[in-house]
Every structure is written in structure tokens, then in C-alpha cells.
Amino acid sequence: MKSPMMIKRLLKWIPTLLLFLLPLLIKEQYFIHFFTMILFYTSLGEAWNIIGGYAGQPFFGASAFLGIGAYTSTILYVHYNTSPWLGMFIGAIIACICAVLIGIPCFKLHGPFFALATLSFLIISERIALSLRGLTGGAYGISIPLKGDSLIDFQFNLKTPYYYIALVFTLLIIFCVHRIENSKLGLYLVALREDEEAANSIGINTLKYKLIAFIISAFITAIFGTFYAQFFRYIDPYSILSVDLSFEIILIALFGGAGTLFGPIFGSLILVSSSEFMQVTLGGKLPGLHLIIYGILVLLLMRFSPRGILYGLKSLISRAPKHFKL
């Protein structure tokens, strides 16, 4: 009885092991870059998932935290020569403080109004980044000077180290979200998503738990902001503080299934690879065609399985005749 359980448990670790071995199997830098992007979006999707999926708050400003993380570490690095690793944590803490400041007024609002208010915060932060030219370089952005391979400076000539850093962070985040999902906090969040008044009436301090979820989400997002800055070595308000990026993060979580652990993982696998594929095959012919197809894909999913692709597949399988069952 014991050994099949053990095997099952070991089987679960095979994908993780494969992910660690991947750079040994594939040498092409382009693919390493591509897999790093999948990990990047998975983590952002998971971070959004905490506040948007489990707690059900339509948060439209995720890239604001990404920008806070990226700008803090980059400004500290470029102007004060602080290691980006330190900058990463300073940025994450600033993002947490901002999360509290944004959260307290915004969590009074519900549904679409919360979405509009958080969207407004994102645009305000974009305007601030644009106008503080001395610090952020305004619309020109900041490029990070290349100093060559060095762990302290968070700079590498090859993509592989970035891949491993992203992998470790992503696994940690997935583990964290898994723990949250099965904790009291996770249950509180789901309760307040389903019915906030009912959750309040049984003594859950909904504002407090929404704030906690928001802070965790902001922390993770800001850390990946620094990662983004070091990975591309260039940031500007139009790319990192854009509404489009926020929206992409939401799509990834919703596509896979918001409020589930594996939703963002599948969402980023499918959406990042399909958008990359379409950009390669169609991008040259007509600019924007790949985004149209991408959009139609999302609309179709929302039509046929509004709770995400995982849920849709699950219900398809359960509807299939018995002998087809997996």
C-alpha cells in the first residue's frame, strides 16, 4: 500500500525535475528566453490570482506594482550603485506600503468600481513616472549599464542564469499560493469572494484579509518587476506601467482558471506560447493580426468556458462516456 503512494508522490516531482534539466537539453538561447517568459507570466498570474482569483477582486493595476519594483531597484542601482538584490526587497517593501495605501480606499468599492479605481491608480503611476524625468528618465526610460556576468549585479551574458532564478522564484511562489489555498486565509478569501456580507456577518474582517492578500500579491509582483528590469536591462513607463501588461496578467489567470493553483500555470503556457507562435508566423505580415486572433481566442473561451480552460476540460471529461474517462 505504501509504495504506490510513494511512487505517486515522486511522480509529482518529475515536471519540476524536467524544468531544472531543461537548459541542459535545450541549448538555444531563444527557447531559454521563451521559457523564462512563461515562468515570469506564471508568477505574475499567480500573484494576481491571490487577489483577483481567490479573493475575487477585479484588480486592474498589477503592472503598477511591477513598475514600483522595477523602478526602485533600477534607480537604486543606476544612481546609488546598490545591488539589485537589495533593491528588489526595498522595491517589494515599497510596493507593500503602496498596496496598503491603495487598498484602504479601493476595498470600500465593489466590482466594476474597484476595477476603475485600480485602473486609475495605474494611470496615475504612469503619469508620475513620465513626469519625474530626473529620476525615471521620463518617456525615454532607463537602460541599465552592462557590467558583465556577476551575481551581485544580477547581470548575466547568457539567459540560462535568469531562467534558473525565475524557476526558483516561481516554484517558491507556487508553493506559497498552495499553502495560502489550504490555509485559513485562503478560506476567508474564498468566503468573501462568494458573499462579502455573509463573510462579514460570521466575523471575518473582510477588509483586513483583502489587504493581506493584496500585500502578498504586491510583494510578489514587485519582485518580478526587478527581475523584468534586469532581464531586459531597459524599462520605460509605456512598457512596464501599461494597461496592456496588467490586462495580459489578468488574462493569463482567467484563461487557465482564476482561483485555482494550476490556472495561471496553464494560462501562461497556452497564452504566452500561442502569442509567441502567432507573432513569429503572422507578425511580419500584418501588424496587430496576432492580437486580433488572440482576442478572438479569449472571447471564445469566455463564451464556452467562462471559468477557465481547466474547468472546461474537466467538465468535458466528466461529461464524456464512462469508458473514455481518464
Partner: protein, 287 residues
């Protein structure tokens, strides 16, 4: 220090632009009131309207001041089609979070179609009809006539909403969907109508805005957010609230643009928006 006359000028222009914004905000608040959805694609309908007004000027020589009925008609048709083929089957059935995502996706699709059709170039209509000078303040005839047109259309619509059966049915649907259904109002028709009027108003607004702004595929989102700011500020569904807050936002935008910089103007409007959401979520004019 900025001379007083410039400040007055900015205030008057803000006021006149506010008149045009109120058309957009009224449409948005009608759609939200009746259908209870936030339509992120509203800015894209505005963009289409601006392009139609541009091509009407370029190909037919029709100035936006005269082509706006045509633009409004075309946009209403587009609105009905969008309702029939996207909104009704897709958006209205989805859970709230997916609704937001659906309309945002729709806006991305429309933006990119516009990008393919018309490229990312900025295009504008250049017309000038002289200006009036009152006590040292210049007011162009274009601003003034656009303002008057906007106000006439809004007042007519308001009267129609209050005096006709269909208008009352629309308000009834906005107030209580189930009760409206019980007294025999066809909800689906009301939704289609609200969406058509809302998009049609974006048509008028877009044509009039075309005289002052350039059009390009991503012109929509910013203006869209601004219209939501206005309609929430005025209290969604309140006619006079929406018109008054359009004036406020128009003036605030023009004055901060003059005093600080145009970059800050939008940020300050949004800060006011968040403050109002926090302190008076029902809008500044509602009791």
C-alpha cells in the same frame, strides 16, 4: 504667473469641451445604468466615429459639423450589431469578472483592426471658421457651435427619456430589471436600445471631437476612462449630475493643463475620481 485672461480662456474652453464630454458620459452612464456593465470598448467606438468623420471630410468634403448625423447613424448601426453578435451572446451571460475582460478584449480587437486598416498615423481634420472676441477672450465658432449641438442633443434625449413610453421603459429597466420584466417590458430590446443610443452618442461626440483632436488607433482608452470618471462623478444615471460633472472635469483638465502640464491634467482628474469614489461613491450631486 499666468495672466488672468489666459486662465479665463482656459476655463471657458474647458467648459465648452465639457459639453462634448457630456455626450460621451451620458451614453456611458445609460449603458451602465440599463445593462450594468462597464463597457471598456466605448473608447473604440469613439475612435471609429472619429475615423468616419475624418474620411467623410477627406473623401466627401463634409465637415464634422455637418457629418455628425451620418456618423451617429452609422455608429448606432454598429452598436446594434455589436449588441446582437457580441454583447448579448457573450458578455451579458458571463460572470462579472469575465464581463470586464470581454469588453477589454473587444477593445483590443477593434484597436488592432483599426491599426491594420488605417495604420498608426495621426490624422486630423483642419477647419477654421473664425472666432468671436468677448472682453479680450477668444472663442472659436467651432467650439461654440459644437457645444450648442451637444446641448441640444442632450436636452432632446433627456426629454425623450422623460416623456415617451420607450424612455420611461428604459428608466424602469435601469431601476429594477425584474420589476420591469413583470410589467411586460422586453428587457432584451431595452438593452439593445440603450447600447444603440450609447454608441450613437459616442458617434456624435467622436465627430465633434474630431475637430479638436487627432485620431489614431489607440486614442480610445484614455478618453474612455475620462468618460467613466465623469459619469461616476455625476452619479451614474443622474442626467444633470453627469452634465455638471462634465463641465467640472472639462474645466479641471484645461486649467491644470495650463497651470501644471498636460501630463498632470489626467492624473489630477483621476485623483479627484478616486477621492469621490471614496468619500461620495454615489456621486457628488446625489443626495
Amino acid at each position: 504667473m499666468i495672466p488672468l485672461i489666459l486662465l479665463l480662456q482656459a476655463i471657458i474652453y474647458g467648459f465648452l469641451m465639457g459639453g462634448i464630454y457630456s455626450l460621451l458620459a451620458f451614453g456611458v452612464s445609460l449603458i451602465f445604468g440599463v445593462m450594468k456593465i462597464i463597457n471598456f470598448a466605448h473608447g473604440e467606438f469613439l475612435m471609429i466615429a472619429m475615423y468616419i468623420a475624418f474620411w467623410a471630410f477627406k473623401l466627401l468634403g463634409l465637415e464634422p459639423l455637418f457629418s455628425f448625423p451620418l456618423v451617429a447613424l452609422l455608429l448606432s448601426l454598429i452598436g446594434v450589431f455589436t449588441y446582437k453578435f457580441v454583447m448579448a451572446p457573450l458578455v451579458l451571460r458571463a460572470p462579472p469578472m469575465s464581463q470586464l475582460v470581454c469588453t477589454l478584449t473587444l477593445s483590443i480587437i477593434i484597436q488592432n483592426i483599426a491599426l491594420i486598416c488605417w495604420t498608426a498615423d495621426y490624422r486630423s481634420v483642419l477647419v477654421y471658421h473664425g472666432s468671436l472676441q468677448i472682453a479680450g477672450i477668444n472663442i472659436t465658432i467651432l467650439h461654440l457651435t459644437s457645444f450648442v449641438i451637444a446641448m441640444i442633443i442632450l436636452l432632446t434625449l433627456h426629454l425623450l427619456m422623460k416623456r415617451t413610453y420607450i424612455g420611461l421603459a428604459l428608466s424602469a429597466t435601469a431601476q429594477n430589471r425584474e420589476a420591469a420584466m413583470l410589467i411586460g417590458i422586453k428587457i432584451d430590446t431595452m438593452y439593445a436600445l440603450a447600447f444603440m443610443i450609447g454608441v450613437g452618442l459616442a458617434g456624435v461626440g467622436g465627430a465633434l471631437l474630431m475637430q479638436f483632436y487627432s485620431v489614431f488607433p489607440t486614442v480610445g482608452p484614455n478618453l474612455c476612462l475620462l468618460t467613466y470618471v465623469i459619469s461616476v462623478l455625476g452619479g451614474l444615471g443622474s442626467f444633470f449630475g453627469v452634465v455638471a460633472s462634465s463641465f467640472i472635469i472639462g474645466v479641471v483638465e484645461a486649467v491644470t493643463g495650463l497651470l501644471l502640464s498636460p501630463e498632470y491634467a489626467r492624473a489630477i482628474c483621476l485623483m479627484i475620481f478616486i477621492m469621490v469614489l471614496y468619500f461620495r461613491p454615489m456621486g457628488i450631486f446625489k443626495k
